[in-house]
Amino acid sequence: MSAAQDVLFRTLADPTRRAIFERLCRDGEQTVGALTARAGVSQPAVSKHLGVLKLAGLVRDRPEGRQTHYSAQLGALSPLIDWTSQMAGFWQNRFDDLEDLLKRMDQ
């Protein structure tokens, strides 16, 4: 495994940190306060997770007044995602299910 992948895996291995990252992916840019409200952990803990995500290049911060806004940096995931093999995996599974169905069907 490459060093870049190693950092990403380590960073995303923590379920709370991964949940924060997923939320940013799904819902777009947010403040620490908004993230804390749904994270189930304290604000300092969320800030710490965001710091680790930032070090891995997975989030970017944008200060605005007294607030800091965080957003996901999806490009940072590219070392992990071999896009075509992921999609091929989806279809391979569908082909498996299709073959199972064909075995059950009448001629």
Partner: protein, 142 residues
């Protein structure tokens, strides 16, 4: 590399020990499609608009583009999302070629852009699959 216009495609091909006519039924009858793909209101009629509804709650917008019974089936495979990165416009083309022992079934999905890796299996499902795989890899040890 022109990343704005370049698109990628995925091809899955498999020899299946069943005749094309039977596979065609599995590809075109809604109650059969549901068993291996997703809930749907498919009709094998060019121009027919239908939805594929995933278990994760996502809905794909599709339109039948080509129908050649027992030979070829093509439809669009689109996913709308307010965030551009999740938007997906692609085309799924099935080709059935008879062989001595059954059928060579080929699926080509084309139209993805390389800047939207998260769209590969439809937003949330894709993410769940991705993170499930991530967890599996972590469990196996780095």
């Amino acid at each position: 590399m022109n990343t704005a216009t370049e698109t990628r495609s995925v091809v899955v091909e498999r020899e299946i020990p069943h005749p094309p006519e039977k596979i065609w039924r599995a590809l075109t009858q809604p109650h059969l499609i549901e068993e291996w793909l997703m809930k749907n209101d498919f009709k094998p009629v060019v121009g027919h608009n239908f939805n594929l509804r995933g278990e994760w709650g996502g809905v794909l917008d599709c339109e039948v583009l080509a129908v050649e019974p027992n030979k070829k089936l093509t439809y669009t495979w689109n996913f709308k999302h307010e965030q551009a990165a999740y938007n997906l416009s692609s085309v799924v083309a099935w080709t059935l070629t008879p062989t001595r022992t059954g059928t060579l079934l080929r699926m080509e999905q084309s139209g993805f852009r390389p800047d939207q890796p998260q769209a590969y299996a439809g937003a949330k499902a894709g993410w769940q699959e991705f993170f499930a795989k991530l967890e599996q890899m972590l469990e196996r040890g780095e």
